[in-house]
Amino acid sequence: MKAKIHVTLKQGILDPQGKAIEHALDSLGFKHAANVRVGKYVELDLPEQDKVKAEAEVKQMCEKLLANTIIEEYRYELG
């Protein structure tokens, strides 16, 4: 099973990278691009075939290492 994990700064926490990219997009003529947020993408393979068990495992990985939940939030897809 493959897990695809996205980690971004929590809503409400200023994302200076996102802001800088938004300005760059704006100067390129993409005037309507708003609320740009930058994050990390992690993908990994798990031998686990049971989706519920795999999900529990991925959740622990996110909580313990992949995201710092003081400042970041995460979401994942399993498949």
């Binding site: 926490i13 200076p16 800088a20 290492l65 400042i71």
Partner: protein
């Protein structure tokens, strides 16, 4: 005193710390490799600056799982002194030994320059040589020094005098202009509730001798040495 300086892969301020502790302050300084599991014989611990594990994932995120960190946690739990400088501070945050987290500098730049910090609490083993409100000139060198924590934790830090250093101007005014990285409340250094673990972004080991033109950082490291001497039973003092 025998002070351990932990070396992670990518630490690069360990030798500066050892130099100041030994050559300037006349103490014994011992390099502690990150794979060590025991801190026996050491009186205090410094987690130095650098880029442990290449800052992969987040600053300090991987270093906190180094074998030595279990021993550092135990050391801290025993009430013994632990100082984290720059990347060392980031590791202490990731390890949960200090509250909060570091965000990228608001300007997105890596900032390497002198800053002024005001000593907000001089009644700690790390600042006992300073006067309350004293302004110190100490350099910073980081890309992720924008301290963040939730409002409840921040209020707790303020109420318990755990904010030890705040960025200020030359005259000690804590202003938004004097904040180099966007840190909440101009925070440059905090300690834990018990008071024996301090994290700070400025580098005292880079300004601890007159030949470098600035000795302000010496106050911090010399205070720590004094703090260790006080903590140690008199008969054991070498």
């Amino acid at each position: 005193m025998n002070i351990g300086v932990v070396v992670f892969p990518g630490s690069n301020c360990d030798h500066d710390c050892i130099h100041v502790l030994s050559s300037v302050l006349g103490q014994k300084a011992t390099q502690v490799w990150h794979k060590e599991t025991s801190l026996a014989g050491l009186d205090g611990i410094i987690l130095p600056g650098g880029f442990s594990y290449g800052d992969y994932l987040r600053t300090g995120a991987i270093a906190r799982f180094s074998p030595v960190m279990k021993a550092v946690k135990q050391f801290a739990a025993e009430g013994r002194l632990v100082l984290g400088i720059c990347n060392g501070f980031q590791i202490l945050l990731e390890a949960g030994l200090l509250p909060g987290a570091m965000l990228r500098n608001q300007s997105l730049h890596f900032i390497c320059r002198d800053t002024y910090v005001r000593v907000e609490n001089a009644a700690t083993p790390f600042t006992s040589g300073c006067k309350p409100g004293q302004v110190l000139k100490i350099p910073i060198a980081h890309a992720d020094g924008n301290y963040y924590t939730d409002p409840v934790t921040l209020a707790g830090l303020q109420a318990n005098a755990q904010v030890i250093f705040r960025y200020c101007d030359q005259d000690g005014n804590v202003t938004p202009e004097a904040n180099p990285n966007g840190s909440l409340d101009n925070i440059a250094g905090i300690r834990n509730a018990a008071g024996n673990v301090l994290g700070m972004m400025p580098h005292p080991e880079r300004c601890a001798e007159s030949v470098l033109g600035n000795e302000d950082g010496r106050l911090i490291l010399a205070s720590m040495v004094e703090g260790l001497k006080k903590a140690k039973p008199a008969e054991a003092v070498v």
